[in-house]
């Protein structure tokens, strides 16, 4: 038998660093921003950053499951606009906001299910199925809304609270973000479904030969992604008090970025909810911090792009 030696403190520390590169990146980013701009660390600003991160973070949780399963979901941005519009149209028709929100969430899940069916039963590559979904859902949204935003849902009911409300002093979207973080952590770490997701992404043929129902799981995976887009849609609609047909453009890319910065592998089988929420925070902090420093929006995009590339290189080096 080989001898198993207990690792020294340095080895343990090195191992921790290797396993938590996104977290260390986030801490370093916070320290640098804190030094460059004193306003950054004010409690007001921290909550505001978290609120900014919440929409991307929620979409990215769904994306995390998709990516761990070895897929990709390009439809989330359009799906967000579509379900937001569904909620708006229902409220415009006089339906109570809580039911309208439920309708939007259902619409998002159904759209995801449809895409999941195309991928599992129709054997379309996820890239193609969700690209088609992305473009056609945007079209659907424009048709439903006639291309015009629907605004002003009042200051009453769930639709006012979900994006603009507070729990004690914490913004509601931030609360929802952390609740969902807990839910997704548990799903991925503790549940049979979570294990199926890792197995399918790690070796689809192997998963099939273990008796895992790959098709059914895939449908469910894209349903979850659609549902999370709809949840983000409702929050966004509430925050801006308006459903805009062009909402959510490029959101799919920021969600993928958050997941990838968080250490997930686009080839599947690897990823964590904690990585994704860190990824979402990193993206939000870069934008917020550069704003505070008065850097132009053009340069912000450039920096965000470079950070994504650096993050993936750093992760691969370990």
């Amino acid at each position: 038998m080989q001898e198993v030696k207990t690792p020294s403190f340095q080895e343990k520390a090195l191992e921790f660093v290797k396993q938590n590169i996104p977290l260390i990146g986030l801490i370093m980013l916070i320290i640098v921003m804190g030094i460059l701009s004193p306003a950054f660390l004010s409690s007001f600003n921290i909550l505001s950053v978290m609120r900014q991160a919440s929409i991307n973070g929620l979409i990215a949780f769904g994306m995390t499951i998709v990516i761990i399963s070895g897929g990709i979901d390009l439809s989330v941005g359009s799906s967000l606009a579509f379900s937001g519009m569904v909620a708006a149209l229902l409220m415009q028709a006089g339906i109570p906001s809580s039911i309208a929100i439920l309708g939007a969430l259902t619409a998002g899940a159904l759209v995801g299910m449809l895409i999941g069916l195309l991928i599992s039963k129709g054997k379309l590559p996820p890239f193609i199925a969700t690209l088609g979904g992305m473009i056609s859902l945007r079209g659907m949204t424009l048709i439903l809304s006639n291309g015009v935003p629907i605004s002003r849902f009042g200051d009453e009911g769930l639709i006012a609270w979900i994006g603009r409300g507070y729990v004690w002093f914490i913004p509601a979207p931030v609360v929802i973000l952390f609740v969902m973080f807990a839910v997704f952590s548990v799903i991925l770490k503790k549940t049979v479904f979570g294990k199926h997701v890792y197995a399918i992404g790690g070796n689809e043929k192997g998963a099939l030969l273990s008796g895992i129902n790959v098709e059914r799981n895939k449908i469910f995976i894209y349903m979850i992604s659609g549902f999370m887009s709809a949840l983000a849609a409702v929050i966004l609609t509430s925050r801006v008090n308006s459903a805009v047909p062009t909402a959510g453009e490029m959101y799919e890319l920021y969600a993928i970025a958050a997941v990838v910065i968080g250490g997930a592998s686009l080839s599947g089988g690897k990823g964590r909810a904690s990585g994704t929420i860190i990824g979402a925070f990193i993206i939000a902090i870069i934008n917020n911090g550069l704003n505070l420093l008065g850097v132009s929006a053009y340069i912000q995009q450039l920096v965000t792009g470079l950070i994504i590339i650096i993050a993936v290189i750093a992760d691969r080096k370990k």
């Binding site: 038998m1 080989q2 198993v4 503790k190 549940t191 049979v192 479904f193 979570g194 294990k195 199926h196 890792y198 197995a199 790690g202 070796n203 043929k205 192997g206 998963a207 099939l208 030969l209 273990s210 008796g211 895992i212 129902n213 089988g269 690897k270």
Partner: protein, 498 residues
Amino acid sequence: MHLKMQSIDKFFGPVQVLTNVDFEVKPNEFHALIGENGAGKSTLVKILTGIEHQTSGDVFIDDAPVHFKNVLEAEKMGISIVNQELNLFPEMTVLENLFICKEPVKGLFIDADEERRRAAEVFKRLGINVNLDVPVKTYSVGIQQLIEIAKSLLEEAKLIILDEPTSALTNKEISQLFDVLKVLKKEGKSIVYISHRLPEIFELCDSISILRDGALVVREDIAKMNFESVIKNMVGYELGNLFPDKPTVKPGVCLMEAKSLARAGEFNDISFKLHAGEIIGFAGLIGAGRTELMNALFGVTRFDSGHLEIDGNPVEIKSVAQAKKLGLGYVTENRKEEGLFLDESITNNVLYNNLKALSQYGFVDDKKTESFVDTYTQEVQVKSHSNAQQIHQLSGGNQQKVVLAKWLATHPKILILDEPTRGIDVKSKKQIYDLIFKLKAQNYGVILVSSELVELLGVADRIYVLREGQLMKEMANQNIKDEDIMVHMMGGNTYARG
């Protein structure tokens, strides 16, 4: 070309795969290279083509010492290989394939006229008619192989290695291939012909080298050999005590009975029986339909027709999940591609196959999982730092033991083992045989698919021989020799080409 390889040794880490091998191909000689799986044929060929490098020993071409650093250098010296898996680009045209990476140019552009002229000349020499402008995939495997041969002629090959060239061909395509080979003979080329099909070797080759366990056993003119002497030299091992004594278990109730199972293009009219406490073996060449049959038994694919009973009840297996529920386990042929999650821990690999047993209300019971996985990895003696170790860090033998552990954990009544000892060390092999006999003693039914006849003879109670999807023979494993099985595998003396 006169090729000489002298005293070739090759180690992979501590494992010696070639021992003091001398290999010679004379000018214009058609030379057969024969040996069981794992005898060292492919390693020898890889050294010859510059893919691997010998640990010691020398290679001479026309008496000048050579050392190929890579494939390109071997090609430049006139050695080329036509592999079992063809190296063509299916979506590109025949012409593009023929000149890939070696395109003649005129100024900045590819000189297509020159290509066309040279290609037409080669195909004319070979006496075959091919449309140069269609994608390669439009042609059958047989023609694609001829295209590969044409490609090596365009590269001025003097020695062409053919690795199992006929394994995927129809009889008509084989005739066509042989006609082309006769042209090569006239043009003075040398051939190394690797095949399990002995009749072809006797028809084509001038001489033969036989490898066994990494050493050259014999090099002889083909005229001085016959079917029997070739086989004897090929498998002339000593059984030794690699195989423990078979437990004396009387076969019990019938666990599985198959009647006339068929699936189009894969196998036809297969009937067999498996009893409790019995090990049945399936012998056959690659492509005989053994793995395809197992896939259908396990619900990966479906039977077109036939009748299957498990425990005396007729069943129709529609999914893997159902097969598992009926008490089947399946250790697949390719452990890396199908059997394992290479980047995952040992624990997760066992867990993914036993999620039902290790969860409640959809939640995985981590504590139970830990001790559960321990139980089974210890039973099969997996050697690792801990169960958290990733699979790809384990040796082949230990990886295979994890596969066995994950299936034993499902408590199957019937365990299908497809090439369970392929590519693993002798010690692990022995442990796996011990385990198979333990299962037999515990009244499991075991289906063993193996290309190693010694394994089938050492382990199985009864042996079914498949050839080209047909059941050729069922024999009790009593007083039979490898030759008896091999004759049925290869079609033996009844072999005929249309």
